[in-house]
Amino acid sequence: MIPAPFEYVAASSMGHALDLLAESGDEAKLLAGGHSLLPMMKLRLAAPSVLIDIGRIPELAGVRADGDELVIGAATCHADVAGSDLVRSQAPLLAHAASQVGDPQIRHRGTIGGSLAHADPAADLPMALTALGGVTVITGPGGTRTVAAGEFFTGFFETVLEPDEVLTAVRVPRAPDAAWGYQKFVRRANDWAIVGVAATGGRIALANMGPVPLRARAAEQALAEGAGPAEAAALAAEGTEPVDDIHAGRAYRQHLARVLTRRALEHRVG
């Protein structure tokens, strides 16, 4: 399968990328690892006329500590997030989530920013960022803004990103001692989650239980009031309306959310 023709420009810096975006408007798409975009272009589900490659901008890749937060460049590939000593020690849930994306080849190309901007509600990183209480760092012509994970995702494959903006980094709190749990139910190795659960620091995030990653607020509140894992997990699907499709019915997904939440809370690491 061959994508429709497009013009390709490699941005040399963030400033260059923003200029190129401003010139091309919403005809352009940003390319980093291309592991969500290129498959869509090959299927002709997407046909942007310009691809702006931000995968070569040095300041967009890498992990650093900044006070009590970690800053992960948007173009950092999943393998580098999963393998980073800083991420493994300071935000182990994020390292684990990155290690669960796709397969080794996909983790060598796909990026954390690309996965978040793609905003697949079944994906690992949107759920992980939501559980960690992380924030996205977004740069546009008017400057830089930060948006909390809970507000970043606005709908099915939709985010707050404007056509002239670039997701440049994510920030997550450093919490080396925080216990965490991570559970995914998949039909095949390296598939997307039918339901996923990530829990840490009193937050419980659910993947594929709605159009965006959700917080299991009722279960979180029960935990905060001293409930045990089983008691809290029984509330994990409260208020959710997951999709009913060929992979699983709504009631079954809600059942999975409760079971996986209990497992995530019972088998916490750290």
């Binding site: 399968m1 061959i2 994508p3 429709a4 023709p5 497009f6 013009e7 390709y8 490699a10 390319l31 291309g34 592991h35 290129l38 498959p39 272009m41 090959k42 691809l51 490659d53 995968g55 393998a79 796709g102 397969d103 080794p104 080849q105 996909i106 060598h108 190309r109 190795a189 390296n190």
Partner: protein, 157 residues
């Protein structure tokens, strides 16, 4: 557009369409037919090559994204008529049947051993998660990768 890259140690410069996928560039422009187009959807791994030493699925990389980088295909593994240790181990352990997945499987294994020279069996199985084989049931493939790791403390691509 003009793209310069290195393929199996050889510098190349070609005028390609931006939409040309790396696997098609390797097969049709370079005449290197080891990387196969299998599923064409980033799933099966038959098109696996190394990009700067790391395994990637070349059906999901644009040739222009590989500009300035080093690509290694299965053709680039053997030197002076000597099989690469991973190739030799696939042969010795009969880690193949029809052979369609083999070039991708070998490249994924070389990439895995470069990152983790002495994997456990479980690490080999998860390390090859991105490569499908519809013939062997994987056992001999896993055995071959473990044999290559045992026999060769320092495996380089």
């Amino acid at each position: 557009m003009q793209v310069k890259l290195t393929v199996n140690g050889q510098a190349r410069s070609d005028d390609v369409e931006p939409r040309l996928l790396l696997v098609h560039y390797l097969r049709e422009w370079c005449g290197l037919r080891a990387a196969n187009v299998g599923c064409d959807t980033t799933s099966c791994g038959a098109c696996t090559v190394l990009l700067n030493g790391r395994s990637v699925k070349s059906c999901t990389v644009l040739t222009v994204q590989a500009a300035g980088q080093d690509v290694t295909t299965a053709e680039g593994l053997a030197g002076d008529g000597e099989m690469h240790p991973v190739q030799a181990a696939f042969r010795a352990e009969h880690g193949l049947q029809c052979g369609f997945c083999t070039p991708g499987m070998v490249m994924a294994a070389v990439g895995l051993l470069a990152e983790n020279p002495h994997p456990t069996e479980s690490e080999v199985r998860s390390g090859l998660e991105g490569n499908f084989c519809r013939c062997t049931g994987y056992h001999n493939i896993v055995r071959a990768v473990l044999a290559a790791a045992d026999a060769n403390p320092e495996i380089a691509p």
